[in-house]
Amino acid sequence: MFESVKHLAGMVFEFVRNHNLAWLIPALPLLASAFIAVFGKWLKGAAHIPAWIAMAGSFALSITLLLGINADPSQTIKDSQVFQDAWFAAGNFHVPLAINVDQLTAVYLTFITGIGLLIFIFAAGYMKGDYGYWRFFACMSIFVFFMCTLVMGNNFILLYLGWEGVGLASYLLIGYYYPRPAAVAAAKKAFITNRIGDFGLAIGVFLIYLHFGNVTYSEVFAHPAEVFAAHPILKWLPFCLMLGAFGKSAQFPLHVWLPDAMEGPTPVSALIHAATMVTAGIYLIARTMPLFLVDPSHTALNVVACVGGFTAFMAASIAMCQYDLKRIWAYSTLSQLGYMFLGLGVMAGTSAVFHVFTHAFFKALLFLSAGSVMHAMGGELDIRKMSGIRKVMPITHITMLLGCIALAGVPFIGAGFFSKDEIIAAVINSPEPHALLLGVVALLVALMTAYYTFRLYFKVFWGPLELPATAGRHEPSPFALADAHGHEALAASHEHDDHAHAAHTPNDGSPLLWLPLCILCVGAVGAGYLGYKGTGDWFHQFLKPVFQTAGTHVPEATAEGAERVSEPVLLALAFLLPLVGIALAWYFHAKNRPATAALAQRLRFIVNFLNHKWYFDELYAVFLLKPLWLLALLLSYFDRYVIDSLVYIVGFIPQLIGHSLKPTQRGLLPRFAVSMIAGLAAIVLGVLYLLG
């Protein structure tokens, strides 16, 4: 049975490879999106069906590619042209619409489409009956399409297309509840913050085109060192690409958009945090690693590592003092992304991608579980208002627990244990001078992660049963409030009213909600073993070629000689820290809750500082928004009084002439006659004078 499936997969892989059909992976979600967008009004509640089919198809193809490349690493798909001719050409500049699928892309595609599919299934249950159900699935599908384009393109232009595309799709989805002003503000914040990063990437792509004369990966990565030597300005190129990655992956100082992106529906958060969007930054740096390695002192990579380490610490500290269920997970994503950049910064590329991979599973699981809780609690997200809900939501309790275990990195159960500790080991043993400090920060963050994860878990699921007043009701649709949307919105609101009247006890909801959670649980526990040395270390062996061609050696935790901290000590720390964090969380949030309140009161300065997210929004408001606003005001005055005055003066000249001639126009017929005759006489005299 297994053999025949494997055989079939091999055949499909050959077929896809030989017929250049890999483009079907992004094409299917695109088709689904177009179909839903056009026929959505008629599909109504069935709008998820085409999206499901497309995602399932893409996932099947992705898995086939992964298995095929795994079976024979030489069989990667390279420069597979979708069209015979260039996608577009201008002068000597040709951009092919062509696809690369190597190990890195295959891994990315697998979790984008796989976890995407589970999120889509969850979303069908979660978004049921919401106004704009089809709009939601059209946007989600196009999101996946752009993400696939981003990782599959064989050149920087396709990467940029996908890059901007996910920005657009995230904007549409974060602002999904557009009658709610906070959602609109969050969507704009996400888009504009991303634009700053995109600016860096755009400059990077321009630099590459200018000095390499080509945008195809294979050409650019062939001999970067020679081109860098010929054009000194290229030393800024890694920094440009880095800025792009920081914007999309929400690293300091461009991290502010991600927590606000919670305004979108929960499946969107899961998609943004787990499968798409934020992982793009890691992909960009992993993909362009050869450009980062040209500089022998690795300045850019060190910056990546430091920013990653700082973001990991900052976000983890903020997550410890937040009260919003989804916001805690959002900061946890920032923190985990920081780990990934830390890994990239010390050239542990496979470890970083491994963490992306495991993180995708457990973060999707955590978000969807949070969504399930939110669904049952009638849209309430404040963890202070709920307690002990394990009694009413047994399945969600288990899935959330497994997700928390994975995120906290409980040894051998959680996937995060394997990937995170690998990064920490790589950081500590990196030869860079500041690596030890970063390693200590990373260890500290591991402790904090365990604490804030289980703080949420114990607070929400343990203790006496307490439910918010809205529990069991449907969250009132924001569209029900806006009358302007006509019949459908009103119909939806009536439906919601009916449900609201018949408030039921909160529970796990339909199988559409809990089934994907259960599947993700398997991933959250099992994904770690794919890269564990004790179980064959498939993941790293598989990814190795990507980073080998990039000229990187993968620093192993067990590399001989140069170790700063011996492996047993690291292992002991890795075992101990999560457990200590969990124990602390248990004591403060399950065992002795009053003590927490007293402690928080004593430390209220720190708690406030963290609860206000290090006052980043306020700082940006004072130091960025205010000066920009003043500049805008100044410029508007300049425009109004200087530029406009010049225009007015020009306009005043004809007016002046008109006014000065006005008195001659008295409207009196005799005057007309006199002037006519005078004119005639003047002409006659003039002619006579000229002739005579």
């Binding site: 126009q665 008295r666 409207g667 005799p670 006659a673 006199v674």
Partner: protein, 102 residues
């Protein structure tokens, strides 16, 4: 007295034209002003006929026939306009009609 020559005719035309011109500028009565334009017309017509005769070319005379026809049509039109104006406001003084001032 010597024979009548071209200059005499031209002089009559010029005198007629001048009379019309002065009348047009001096008078305020609309109908009188209109008559003055007709006098100027006749001065021009005499001019044309004189030259036609002088050059022994009849096309000038036939041109004047057309001119008179057109003048008749134009006169009826102009008088019609005057009547219309008079209906709006019972005055023929052109100084009263100065809506076109700037």
């Amino acid at each position: 007295m010597s024979q009548l020559v071209l200059y005499h005719y031209l002089a009559v035309g010029a005198i007629l034209f001048a009379i019309g011109l002065v009348g047009f500028m001096a008078r305020r009565n609309m109908i009188m002003m209109f008559l003055c334009t007709e006098i100027m017309f006749q001065g021009v017509a005499i001019n044309l006929i004189a030259f036609s005769r002088f050059h022994m070319n009849p096309s000038g005379q036939s041109f004047v026939i057309f001119l008179l026809t057109i003048a008749a049509a134009e006169a009826s039109l102009a008088l019609g306009l005057v009547v219309l104006l008079f209906r709006r406001r019972p005055t023929l003084n052109v100084d009263e009609w100065s809506e076109m001032q700037g």
